[in-house]
Amino acid sequence: MEKIDRKKTVAEQIDDEANQYVTFLISGESYGVEVLCVKEILGMTDVTPVPNTLSFMKGVINLRGEVVPVVDMRIKFGMSEKEYDAFTVIIIVEVKRRLIGMIVDAVSDVADIPIDSIQNTPHFTTRIETDFIKGIGQLAEQLIIILDVDKILTSDEFQKIDQEDVSE
């Protein structure tokens, strides 16, 4: 019998097809994440703050019996904080089998972006970290910054926390 193929990861499967993205707004700019990573979208709810953590970690919420951490993307991207309003949503994404919520200004659409209209991340001169930006997609004259959720949540800061935990 031939050797068994390892199952393809979700990301690999997406790359094979024409990709769909959930797009959302942060500070007037459009961002997108792959639709298959998104578990659900919630309105803003009560967040229980957690002591002694990173500034963008807003706390934890109850997602139908599960405790899910939520991250404020504005703080994460180094932008100014904004009062949460009726448009503020939490996008729940699944990263490495765990759930995490992203607080964003508003959710806009689910868009098909052909692979060839996505270009690799240019080298920004701004402060914006580029390692969690997968590329820039173009959709009807509109630029969409495509985020790599895997990287958002395993970026340096998170690793730092993990390491500190281990060393203790």
Binding site: M1, T48, V50, N52, I61, V67, D162
Partner: protein, 694 residues
């Protein structure tokens, strides 16, 4: 099912089978028993079949070779010798690599050759130069029917003495006294013997020994001694795969012989059951039949109650859903509270009923997660065998409390610490063979693993009969390593606890076993993280016992809900000593040390929780707010809170370590109103605070 899924199922199964094989092999080495060989044979057979299904033909072919080797052992063609056991163990190791680490398997072809040559050699030669293993003496079973003549006392014979002689020969398995000959009270002649007896006895001795007991009464009385060893089964319900007939059960219990059964069968009336016939023929009593029927039912149950494998994630899913139901329920209760008394009455009543069911439901799910510790303990047998051999000590692992049940997660978390502690006992606890002989001890050291339930907790003990801990020696090592100050005074218990300090190792040379970067300090912190504790009991030259105390489950605790500012936090009820409202004059500020509260002439440092958690409090002054006195590892803290809300059973949800690195938060729970509340870990809080103070 996809190929991947098949492989996964196979891996799970294989892991279990291999563990069982190792345990069985080590136990076979201790004493030979043909049943053990049979079991081993079956395990290899299963492994062969499943690996074939999973497409691992190489494994299947290899295990087939071992299976046929065992088959020859089974048919007593070849004997079990230590070298045979070594070979089979080595082949198990090889199979492990072949199954779980396919890429590595190619490098092991020489080892495989070696094993196959051994098997090949053994197929021709029956004799093996190494000594055969001791055979376990099998017991003989006898059924003894004693029916004295009623005037037996006149001959100066006391039936009691004879029976007492009989029971000393072996163990009594069944004892029956027949009273049918006893007359009515007014007709009893005290000088007559009316009773008859029946014994089933298991003994090492031959029938002759029993005959001797009855030597003087044999001729005049009705004594019947039957050898039932062939048919007797100690535990009828074990190892069954088919239904048992009532007659067979009676034969196996030793109550009737095969011949008697055949006699009854041939004498059966039309439409009569075997049991009835046996009773009619006075071979057994109604009661015997009832008992045998009970066994039959049990056997049938055993056949029916097969187990199914359930992924733990599914159980957790049910548990989560149930949590949702409980939350939903409590919100209905809150609505009911707002209704009129008489309207709400019926609603509340049915809610109470529902509440009871959900609680039972929860308990049932919890019970599903509980598994006996036996398999975990048994897997250490091989570990002890291998490591003690490696360092040239003779050590045997004894296991008690196998059937004690524990949450599967706790078992998984405790396996590694246990292994390390056993390793520690092998390395440091038990003396070398020469030393033991010098001290007049048994050259074979014994490590005992025991598990039991007590005080709503589970205790696991690792004991050795080695040299014990020396408080003075431990102290001086700690001083030389700079772990404690030279002039620091320690009690004996504190000295023993030094071995849990980081950087402490009593081994002079870093041996092969220890010194792998994990020490007893890691063991201790692992146990701490399970909310457990370790106690050390030691006596010089008698040995050391590590007693680990663990909660039954990690999933549920009794918590006290406290309010700080707008948020609700949970403090484990076990940590709380009392809650008080201090007088103004009892709160004092100590320069550089922060605030303290005096509680019955004891100063306890006060933590303003609202400051720690960055909340806006309802009260700024401790004498207006409440203070909860908590304790962890003998250290006390006074936590200033706004209010106590109440006590509740809490289902713990673990927090990802990406959420916070704060040690004072051990997890979260979802409250009745759907909000998430953080659980404060007092031990962690203490260490956070001491690190804040620097």
């Amino acid at each position: 099912m996809s190929d991947q899924a098949i492989l996964e199922v196979f891996h799970n199964e294989a892991r279990e089978i291999i563990e069982n094989i190792e345990t069985e092999l080590v136990s076979l080495e201790e004493s030979y028993d043909s049943e053990k060989v049979n079991t081993l044979f079956r395990y290899f057979h299963t492994l062969k079949g499943s690996s074939g299904i999973a497409g691992l033909m190489e494994v299947s072919e290899f295990t087939h070779e071992i299976e046929s080797l065992l088959d020859r052992v089974r048919s007593e063609e070849i004997q079990v010798t230590p070298s045979l056991i070594d070979t089979v163990l080595a082949s198990v190791d090889l199979v492990k690599v072949m199954i779980f680490d396919e890429d590595q398997a190619d490098g092991l072809s020489s080892q495989k050759e070696k094993i196959l040559t051994f098997i090949g050699k053994n197929s021709n030669e029956v004799t093996d130069s190494s000594r055969p293993l001791p055979q376990k003496r099998k017991l003989n079973y006898f059924r003894v029917k004693i029916n004295f003549k009623d005037n037996v006392f006149e001959y100066g014979i006391d039936p009691l003495m004879i029976i007492e002689d009989l029971v000393t020969v072996g163990t009594v398995i069944e004892e029956k006294i027949y009273r049918s000959r006893v007359p009515a009270l007014d007709e009893i002649n005290p000088e007559k013997c009316y009773l008859s007896w029946m014994y089933i006895i298991g003994t090492k001795h031959a029938k002759k020994k029993i005959d001797e007991i009855f030597l003087f009464v044999f001729d005049d009385n009705d004594i019947e001694i039957t050898d039932i060893t062939e048919d007797y089964r100690e535990d009828i319900t074990s190892d069954v795969n088919e239904e048992k007939k009532i007659g067979n059960i009676l034969v196996q219990k030793g109550l009737i012989t095969e011949d008697e059964l055949l006699f009854a069968l041939s004498n059966m009336k039309k439409e009569e059951k075997v049991g009835k016939a046996l009773v009619r023929l006075k071979l057994v009593t109604e009661k015997d039949i009832e008992k045998a029927l009970g066994v039959q039912v049990e056997v049938r149950k055993k056949i029916e109650s097969t187990t199914i494998r359930v992924e733990r994630a599914k159980l957790d899913g049910i548990m989560n859903l149930l949590g949702e139901i409980v939350i939903g329920q409590s919100s209905i209760v809150r609505f009911a509270d707002e209704l009129d008394e008489d309207k709400a009455y019926a609603l509340k009543n049915s809610l109470y009923g529902l509440n009871r069911s959900t609680r039972q439901f929860q308990e049932q799910i919890m019970a599903m997660r509980m598994i006996p510790v036996g398999p975990t303990f048994s897997q250490f047998k091989r570990f002890v065998r291998d490591t003690s051999r490696q360092i040239g000590k003779e050590i045997r692992l004894e296991i008690m409390g196998k059937e004690t049940e524990l949450d599967k997660t706790v078992i998984e978390e405790i396996t590694d610490p246990l292994k390390h502690m056993i390793r520690n006992s092998i390395d440091h606890g038990i003396e070398s063979t020469e030393e033991r002989i010098k001290l007049g001890k048994d050259p074979t050291g014994i490590i005992t693993l025991n598990a039991y339930h007590q005080e709503g907790c589970i205790f696991i003990e690792i004991s050795d009969d080695g040299k014990g801990l020396d408080a003075e020696e431990l102290r001086s090592i700690a001083v030389s390593k700079g772990i404690i100050a030279k002039d620091k005074e320690l009690t004996e218990d504190e000295s023993y606890a030094l071995i849990f300090k980081p950087g402490f190792s009593t081994a002079n040379a870093v041996g092969d076993l220890s010194g792998r970067g994990v020490g007893m300090d890691v063991v201790k912190s692992n146990i701490d993280s399970l909310r457990g504790s370790v106690q050390i009991i030691t006596e010089k030259n008698r040995g050391t016992t590590f007693r680990i105390k663990l909660p039954l489950t990690l999933a549920i605790i009794d918590g006290m809900l406290i309010k700080v500012g707008k948020s609700v936090y949970i403090v484990p009820l076990l940590s709380i000593l009392e809650s008080i409202r201090p007088r103004k004059e009892d709160v004092k500020t100590i320069k550089g040390q922060g605030e303290v509260v005096m509680v019955r002439n004891e100063y306890i440092s006060l933590i303003r929780l609202y400051k720690y958690f960055d909340q806006v409090p309802a009260f700024e002054n401790p004498w207006e707010a409440l203070v909860v006195i908590v304790e962890s590892n003998g250290e006390k803290l006074a936590l200033m809170i706004d209010d106590l809300i109440g006590q509740q059973q809490i289902v713990i949800k673990s927090l990802d370590n990406t959420v916070t690195k704060d040690r004072s938060i051990s997890g979260a729970a979802i409250l009745g109103d759907g909000n998430v509340s953080l659980i404060i870990d007092i031990h962690g809080l203490l260490s956070e605070i001491s690190s804040l103070r620097g």
